[in-house]
């Protein structure tokens, strides 16, 4: 197909969200606020990592069509520099405290589920199948993260403040989720990609409903980082990604060509 390079780029956008957020959640393993929660959060990380790998597998097939043989999942995950990563700025933000982690998760999960819902209707059968499978997992992620927003927002004075601070700080990264650049516009027109802009209103209503129950205030929509076509999806990241990748890629890059 003529638009394979664009489609490849779009697959990286989907894959990198999973890989990068799973990497962040991996930092929590063994350090969660309760044993049960530690185990549950790791399941979310494992799901996202699995989804990332499914998107990368398809990315490779697409890349192989115009630049054979195409890079494998590990070459894509461990040998790309920060500027080649296509994840949203939101998912690369540091874990912070548990409210920061849960707010990041909730804002993403709510969008992620809607996006996958739209992608399940993609004209590209592979995309539709992966999205349908991932949506089942993400529905549960959203249940959990929405639940935690409510528990923290409606918990103690301290947890309420931390939840509100987390939402306020992360809000600036939410606009990027609904931005549509030339690459996505073309794929949307072809019926392959989801129209992210159309998700904004339903996302806002869903988030508002949870915040209402959590007695959290909806932040005002000011300037949004990365929403103007110069953000994570275009490879322009926050400083956090570079540090994350330095850690993630160190072993793989120290032994070029090695198999593990």
């Amino acid at each position: 197909m003529d638009d394979d390079p664009q489609l490849f780029d779009y697959m990286l956008r989907l894959a990198d969200n999973g890989i990068v957020l799973a990497q962040r959640l991996g930092e929590w393993v063994g350090k969660g606020p309760a044993l049960e929660e530690d185990i549950a959060l790791t399941n979310v990380g494992l799901d996202l990592l699995g989804q990332g790998r499914m998107w990368l597998a398809y990315a490779r097939e697409i890349e192989a069509r115009y630049a054979p043989p195409g890079r494998g999942e590990d070459a894509l995950a461990f040998l790309r520099d920060g500027g080649e990563f296509r994840n949203l700025l939101l998912v690369e933000q540091p874990n912070g405290n548990y409210a920061d982690t849960m707010a990041r998760q909730f804002l993403f999960d709510q969008w992620h589920l809607m996006l996958l819902g739209a992608l399940a209707g993609s004209k590209d059968a592979r995309i539709a199948a992966i999205a349908a499978k991932a949506a089942k997992e993400v529905r549960y992620h959203l249940e959990r993260s929405a639940d935690w927003m409510i528990r923290l927002g409606d918990g103690t004075e301290l947890s309420h403040r931390r939840a509100q601070d987390a939402v306020d700080a992360l809000w600036v990264y939410t606009g990027e989720m609904f931005s549509v650049d030339a690459i996505e516009r073309g794929l949307v027109a072809a019926g392959v990609a989801a129209d992210a802009a159309s998700l904004r209103d339903p996302w806002r209503s869903a988030v508002a409903a949870v915040f209402d129950e959590a007695s959290l205030a909806m932040p005002g929509d000011g300037w949004m980082q990365g929403a103007s076509g110069r953000g994570g999806k275009q490879g322009i990241h926050t400083e956090h990604l570079g540090h994350m990748l330095a850690e993630m890629q160190i072993v793989a890059r120290s032994h070029p060509g090695a198999r593990w």
């Binding site: 309760a34 049960e36 929660e37 185990i39 549950a40 399941n43 249940e143 959990r144 639940d147 528990r151």
Partner: protein
């Protein structure tokens, strides 16, 4: 303030099983969290399709089966809680 989460007993019905079986316990603040935690803790390997949870404090148990008078029946409350892990079919040496 004590922030210890209450203990819950978890019962899971597997794909092949006819009835819910006790699989273990965990801590959670309410039933909804107990069900979610049970999914993550006790069905990591697709062990079940239906989950029941009950507060350990609400479980009443019969007296020990032993007829020997030395093992006097105590009250009907579980002492803290019972952990009736089912014997998996794969484990042959029990």
């Amino acid at each position: 303030m004590s922030s210890e989460w209450p203990l819950w007993e978890i019962f899971i019905r597997s794909q092949h099983g006819l009835a819910h079986k006790h699989v273990g316990s965990l801590h959670a603040v309410d039933a909804q969290m107990a069900i979610r935690n049970a999914r993550d803790v006790y069905t990591r390997r697709n062990e079940g399709i239906s989950i029941w949870v009950a507060r350990s404090a609400d479980i009443h148990a019969s007296s020990p089966g032993d007829k020997d008078a030395l093992f006097e029946p105590s009250n009907d409350k579980v002492y803290r809680h019972p952990t009736f892990f089912p014997m998996p079919d794969e484990v042959k040496h029990i």
